[in-house]
């Protein structure tokens, strides 16, 4: 009799990791299919519907193109911080802060057209940067764990945006939810409702990848991130690098908020981030520390999120859809871990 067992391997090849990830997604889809069949739906028909709706029509592809913009940037934000060994759980808050600052410029600065957009972009990045400044300094000078500080500041940013959008900056005679008046400066769309934020996000990811791989600074950042003691051994200004990298991380998330305002939503309102900051953490996990990987991970994430919306229009309840997308994301994330295992046969 042969007996099958799982064995854990200490290291894994990229091919195995990719294979495991595909396997994990396939597994998630099978489980999702079983759930769907269980609630009385036809999983194959639904699957086909999801694929044709999101990939088979320009409407669907545009939706993906739009959704992927903030996901690339928040994912990149988290990934950049990871390079130096910091966990930016606060991309959500920096996103809000960036949206807030960009809106302030868009609403009140006496700039016109393109200049207003430039001003909003600078303000957005600066807003995100300011939002991570305290966690960065606290980590650099007092060794305060950035996980908690960045997370806590999320709530502050969310409340700040709620306050201004429902009170100080609220559009009088506003509708169901409170929001600011529409901001005049808008990023032009180049493909359906997809705006120029998409190429900006992709270029930024490529630029970060280049900076990390092909500059002296990038080398030092990777080194400190991998082993802080080695930074000390080499006499690298680890503290300055840490602060710089965290500020860049915050600025990228802030820029994501600006693009969402100027390209997609056009008003500052509560809930503007749609959890993109937290989803960025997932994107970063999927991207495994690669800035270019972020682009693909964000695309996958956008596809999964969009599939969730398509499934809802097919009469699935929100909770079922949440369960399915959650399952897929979860299994995809542990795909790497799965790649450490292989099946062996016991001879006995």
């Amino acid at each position: 009799m042969a007996d099958f067992r799982l064995q854990r391997l200490p290291s894994t090849t990229p091919a195995a990791a990719l294979g495991a990830r595909i396997l994990a997604i396939a597994l998630a889809l099978v489980i999702a299919g079983v759930i769907l069949a269980f609630v009385g739906k036809n999983p194959l028909a639904l699957g086909l519907q999801v694929v044709t709706s999101s990939l088979g029509s320009s409407f669907g592809l545009e939706d993906l193109g739009l959704l992927v913009i903030p996901l690339i940037l928040t994912g990149l934000s988290v990934t950049v911080a990871q390079q130096i060994g910091a966990w930016n759980i606060g991309a959500e808050g920096q996103f809000y802060a960036g949206a807030f600052a960009a809106s302030a410029v868009g609403l009140f600065a006496p700039l016109s057209g393109g200049w207003s957009l430039v001003g909003m972009g600078v303000a957005g990045a600066f807003g995100g940067l300011v939002w991570i400044l305290i966690p960065a300094l606290a980590r650099a000078y007092a060794n305060v764990n950035e996980l908690i500080t960045t997370l806590l500041l999320n709530f502050v940013a969310i409340l700040l945006v709620y306050y201004v959008s429902t009170d100080a900056w609220r559009e009088r005679g506003g509708v169901a939810n409170s929001a600011t008046p529409r901001i005049k400066a808008e990023i032009p769309e180049f493909w359906g409702l997809v705006h120029w934020g998409l190429p900006i996000a992709v270029l930024l990811a490529l630029a970060m990848a280049g900076l990390l791989a092909f500059t002296r600074w990038g080398y030092e950042v990777r080194l400190i991130g991998s082993n802080p003691a080695a930074g000390k051994y080499l006499g690298i200004a680890a503290r300055r690098h840490l602060i710089t990298v965290m500020l860049i991380s915050g600025a990228i998330a802030g820029l994501a908020g600006m693009l969402e305002i100027a390209g997609t939503v056009h008003r500052l309102q509560g809930g503007i981030s749609n959890n993109y900051g937290y989803l960025g953490i997932m994107v970063a996990v999927l991207a495994r520390g690669s800035s270019i990987g972020v682009i693909f991970a964000a695309a996958l994430m956008a596809f999964i999120l969009n599939s969730g919306i398509i499934l809802q229009t097919q009469g699935l309840t929100t909770s079922t859809v949440l369960a399915i997308t959650g399952l897929i994301l979860f299994l995809t994330a542990i795909g790497d871990e799965l790649s450490h295992y292989r099946v062996v046969r016991d001879k006995s």
Binding site: G174, A176, S178, Q312
Partner: protein
């Protein structure tokens, strides 16, 4: 702007038992003059979509709209598809949801909780689809809106509150400082002040339409502040349960949910979209649909619920007398009105139009917290 109460008066005549009054068509504000009707669709090929803000099981706002969806399905059993999505967030995800409706061939889409620009983004790119936005403000060639003139039954509840509240301190659990909340708080206090001129209305905003925990906390805080009558716009019953426990009065929104607090329950703003939805779909299928703006009149889609079991009969009677007076064409919303800072906002004798009421964005004197 046309004052529409004259047009919708026939709703008043059909005053039926409270809570099930919706025999007549609601009041039309105006229609987009230039728009031509979209071509007719065969029922067998027609796809109708509904997007809701909450879950259909909320026993409140979304449940009420869902009853409308069921009525449409019953009336038009051969529709190709009826798409219904719950929990559509007020974000770019709303755009994605409605775009998906369009991708699936929707001929008509109802946004039952105004997602504003997020919806309009889709409306502009789907010229062959008819859109209706509940609590909307914008009319386009293929977009209309509808809402309820809830301020009349609210005023009636206010009168009852004036009688029932001993402290004269009324509490209000609000979602966001938006027009419907301004109108609701103002109408409520104005009704109460006809009985108790020194009554006040304290408001707490919880930034959600559906957050039982926050609503319960707000209710508790209001009672702790001396309020002995709670009202609010919530899609669930949390503050009613608080009122029941603390022994104060409460009035609600959307549906009859007295079983959550039978001895505290005073009444509710009852809403009903069934006939309106059936009629809109019929028009769309028949090729008669053009974008319109509608405010349901009291008795025609919105009303007060039957009085609670502990409400003294004479209180109910006094409030109903006011209700009858309104149904007869009288408007309580006449100047002089001062805002919460004491400035006169409406001159003596001046009457607020329906659209003024719909877009109210300031608090009358005595309302605090917005």
């Amino acid at each position: 702007m046309i004052d529409l109460r004259s047009l919708s008066r026939r709703g008043f005549l059909n005053m039926a038992a409270a809570g099930s009054a919706s025999l007549a068509l609601p009041g039309l504000v105006r229609s987009a003059s230039a728009a031509t009707a979209l071509p007719a669709v065969n029922e067998k090929n027609a796809v109708i979509g509904f997007g809701h803000v909450g879950p259909v099981t909320d026993e409140g706002w979304t449940w009420s709209h869902h009853q409308g969806v069921l009525a449409v399905k019953e009336k038009f059993p051969n529709l190709k598809k009826v798409l219904e999505v719950e929990n559509v967030p007020y974000s770019a995800d709303a755009t994605r949801t409605y775009r998906q409706f369009v991708s699936e061939g929707a001929n008509m889409i109802f946004d039952t909780s105004s997602t504003g620009d997020f919806l309009h983004e889709v409306v502009r790119r789907a010229k062959d689809t008819a859109f209706m936005e509940c609590n909307g403000h914008v009319l386009m060639d293929n977009l209309g809106w509808y809402y309820l003139a809830h301020w009349y039954p609210t005023y009636v509840l206010g009168v009852a509150a004036g009688h029932l509240s001993k402290s004269g301190k009324l509490g209000y659990v609000a979602s966001f400082p938006v027009a419907s909340v301004y109108t609701s708080t103002n109408a409520f206090l104005m009704g109460a002040r006809t009985v108790n001129p020194s009554a006040t209305c304290q408001t707490i905003t919880i930034n959600s339409w559906f957050d039982p925990q926050a609503a319960a906390q707000a209710g508790t805080a209001l009672i702790d502040n001396g309020c002995d009558f709670l009202f609010g716009i919530m899609d669930e019953a949390a503050y009613l349960q608080v009122a029941e426990k603390r022994g104060v009065w409460a009035a609600m929104w959307n549906t009859d949910i007295r079983r959550y607090g039978p001895s505290s329950y005073v009444s509710s703003i009852i809403i009903d979209f069934k006939e309106y939805y059936v009629e809109q779909v019929r028009k769309r299928l028949a090729g008669e649909w053009t974008p319109t703006e509608s405010l349901f009149a009291m008795g025609a889609g919105v009303d007060r619920d039957a009085w609670g079991e502990k409400v003294p009969a004479d209180v109910g009677k006094a409030a109903d007398a006011v209700r009858t007076k309104i149904l007869g064409g009288w408007s309580p919303f006449v100047g002089e009105l001062k805002d919460s800072k004491g400035a006169v906002r409406l001159a003596k004798g001046q009457k607020m139009s329906e659209m003024d009421l719909y877009n109210w964005d300031w608090s009358v004197e005595g309302v605090t917290g917005l």
